[in-house]
């Protein structure tokens, strides 16, 4: 599909998958319900019909087994894309991801590489309860040997897969469940998607809102609301959670002197903690106020809608945090 048309995040992911399989015969998709069912979030709908059962493979309900198979295929020269239903379930494959995929290049002295892409859903907001709603990408961002991507926009949903497949090392792509139905125009920029840099989505001089994934939309809404009150917030989408593009964050905070980090993960030991620490370590003398974080409440994500909403970072929380550190608005 051409640039400029309005499509959904889901459709953008599907286009990327289709294109990848069309371009490279080594690419195949594997995971629970990706074939006949079309994917739990309907991302791979129609791909089984188009590419056949060899390249769109339904797997048994064993994350450890099919992620392990994906690693084996990657070592064997294929370019597998493994879909895991949610990040909560990826915990069953932690051994494969962390002990194998992330380590083999190092342990083989560079003789082997694992050109594997693992996609999975993350995040809350769809009333799927605690076992399907957590944001654990921050954990993976702790692991050397992995590249962690979090497409938050239509462009990134469309554009991140190709460079991820081109990466000779394992790449994990986290798709926030709230994003699948979002729609937007696909710009021309997706074709040159860079999976090394964060992106400034909105320029502002008073405060830097640093976020990623499902929280980007909330940060942009908060910025909109703040602009109505005379506070110009800059919004940064981290996009790449590992290796973190701290320099883009620093460049922004050096100008605004204030930062609020919005992370749907829990506060303790989170990615937001990492970003905050790096700011304090590297550009302490640029800070005109403490770095604040807006994170999820430290409880398993609840099922009832009103409780789920209460637990997650929301626009008013972001607005309140900003006002706390911007002069003259406290």
């Amino acid at each position: 599909m051409s640039a400029g048309a309005t499509i959904s995040y889901r459709e953008a992911l599907r286009q990327a998958l289709r294109e990848a399989m069309q371009r490279d015969p080594r690419v195949f998709l594997m995971g629970e319900d990706v074939g006949r069912y079309g994917g739990t979030y309907a991302v791979s709908k129609g791909l089984l019909e188009e590419f056949g059962p060899d390249r769109v493979r339904d797997t048994p309900l064993s994350e450890l087994a099919f992620v392990g198979a994906g690693i084996g295929a990657a070592l064997g020269g294929m370019r597998p894309i493994v879909e895991i239903m949610t990040v909560n379930f990826s915990l069953l494959a932690l051994d494969q991801i962390i002990n194998n995929a992330a380590t083999l290049r190092h342990m083989s002295g560079g003789q082997f590489s694992v050109p594997l892409v693992i996609r999975m859903a993350t995040g809350a907001g769809r009333q799927l309860a605690a076992q399907h709603s957590h944001s654990l990408e921050g954990w993976y961002a702790h692991i050397p040997g992995l590249r962690i991507l979090a497409p938050a926009t239509i462009d990134d949903a469309r554009g991140m897969l190709a460079p991820a497949l081109a990466d000779p090392d394992p790449v994990l792509i986290f798709e926030h469940v709230q994003l699948y139905n979002t729609e937007g125009a696909l710009s021309d920029a997706w074709q040159a998607t860079d999976i090394r840099r964060a992106r400034v989505h909105r320029a502002g001089r008073d405060v830097s809102l640093v976020t990623y994934g499902g929280s980007l939309g909330k940060a942009l809404l908060a910025a909109e609301r703040l602009a109505g009150e005379g506070i110009e917030a800059e919004v940064i989408d981290l996009r790449v959670l590992r290796p973190l593009d701290a320099e883009t964050v620093f460049e922004s905070v050096r100008r605004t002197h204030r930062a609020v980090i919005i992370d749907e993960g829990w506060r303790s030991g989170s990615l937001s903690a990492e970003v905050s620490a790096r700011i304090a370590e590297s550009i302490f003398y640029s800070l005109d106020a403490p770095v604040l974080r807006v994170c999820s409440e430290e409880v398993p994500v609840p099922y009832p809608k009103h409780l789920e909403d209460a637990v997650l970072p929301q626009v008013p929380d972001i607005v309140a945090a900003v006002k706390e550190i911007v002069s003259g608005h406290d």
Partner: protein, 378 residues
């Protein structure tokens, strides 16, 4: 191992700003060597080391303002092991942290953002004087920039800071010290006579000024009457065994400064003269040494170059007295029932009534007068 600490460069000094280091790690330091330059509110002062060693580590960066007593550098001595130096380093860091902590706890916490602090340094704004208007009363960049806009240009600042220091010291003096004042007219005929004869046989560069005689006489008198020589600290008078005379020197840019000449009672007149001219030159050039700035025990002010008859000065706390000399000129005096002209000067004493009584002061001035009658023995 030697800890080189920021010395007090004056009784009213609580902190100083390191302007530059004159030594580098690895360099050997000898006694009396100038190791750095510290800015007090009065002057940029060369700070000397009184111990010998090799510079192991410089702990304070130029530009930093630290409290008196803060360890600025560590000097290594022969026999120091790396372990000893490392443990000393840890102890110093802990002491610095401990020193910082109570200060914060004691006052209401003052919030200054790191960026505001940095901006203040760039703009030369005194961060302590900036009112915080940020969240929770914090001082932010905006506050510093407002402060900078209100500030007078930099060159005027030194004079203003000096004025402020003098204002504070003098106000404190008049608030706390119950002054009493005495004056005595001293016949200088024999002193000036002796001086003329003495100077005739001296090369021009070694000629003595009458001020030299004053200082020596005051120093000897102070040794005899210790109630005017020392400090009033923590509610009690502490006489000083040594006599370090503060010499009030007016500065070209305005204001005055009273650095010390040490052990004046034990200096020869020639030595004293050299010390005086050196001190005046360097005070006006702004290059005084730490040892000269710290703790004169008694100050002498000589306004003889102006036409005033006498000066009743304000004591520089925590000192307990100040001796003044006015203009020397021929005045009518009565000798053996006859009015005769003679060169005289009025010596005056401002003294702290907590440390001495008028009786002590009168005896002190009488001794000064007597000593000046026998200049050859000074």
């Amino acid at each position: 191992m030697i800890e080189f600490k920021l010395p007090s460069l004056g009784a009213d000094m609580e902190k100083g700003t390191l302007l530059e280091w004159r030594v580098r790690p690895g360099e050997a330091v000898t006694k009396g060597q100038v190791v750095g330059v510290v800015d007090t509110t009065k002057a940029a002062v060369d700070v000397e080391s009184w111990q010998e060693g090799i510079v192991h580590e410089l702990l304070v960066e130029p530009g930093a303002t630290v409290a008196v007593g803060t360890t600025l550098a560590v000097l290594r001595e022969p026999g120091d092991t790396p372990e000893q130096l490392a443990s000393a380093r840890a102890r110093i860091a802990a002491a610095a942290a401990a020193a910082a902590a109570p200060a914060v706890a004691a006052t209401t916490e003052r919030r200054v953002s790191p960026a505001a602090r940095k901006r203040a340094q760039e703009l030369g704004v005194d961060i302590d004087a900036v009112q915080g208007a940020g969240p929770q009363g914090a001082v932010t960049i905006a506050d510093v920039e407002r402060g900078a806009a209100a500030k007078t240009p930099a060159p005027a600042d030194r004079a203003r800071a000096l004025r402020q220091t003098i204002a504070m010291a003098m106000a404190r003096s008049k608030r706390e010290i119950p002054h009493y004042y005495l004056a005595e007219e001293i016949n200088l005929a024999s002193a000036l006579d002796w001086l003329r004869r003495e100077n005739e046989r001296r090369p021009v560069t070694e000629r003595l000024l009458v001020a030299c005689l004053y200082l020596k006489a005051v120093a000897l008198a102070a040794r005899k009457h210790p109630a005017v020589n020392g400090f009033f600290l923590d509610g009690q008078f502490r006489p000083s065994a040594a006599v370090h005379l503060g010499v009030a020197i007016s500065l070209r840019g305005g204001g005055l400064i009273a650095p010390a000449i040490h052990d004046v009672d034990r200096l020869s007149l020639a030595g004293l003269m050299r010390g005086m001219s050196d001190l005046v030159t360097r005070a006006r050039a702004g290059s005084l040494r730490s040892s000269e700035m710290s703790d004169p025990t008694l100050t002498v002010t000589n306004l003889g170059e102006q036409s005033v008859d006498s000066v009743f000065g304000v004591i520089y706390p925590p000192q307990v007295a100040l001796v003044g000399f006015g203009q020397v000129r021929d005045r009518p005096i009565v000798v053996q029932g006859e009015v005769r002209p003679a060169p005289t000067v009025t010596a005056s004493l401002s003294a702290d009534h907590r440390a001495s009584d008028g009786h002590d002061g009168a005896l002190f001035l009488a001794t000064v007068r007597e000593l000046l009658q026998h200049p050859e023995s000074l």
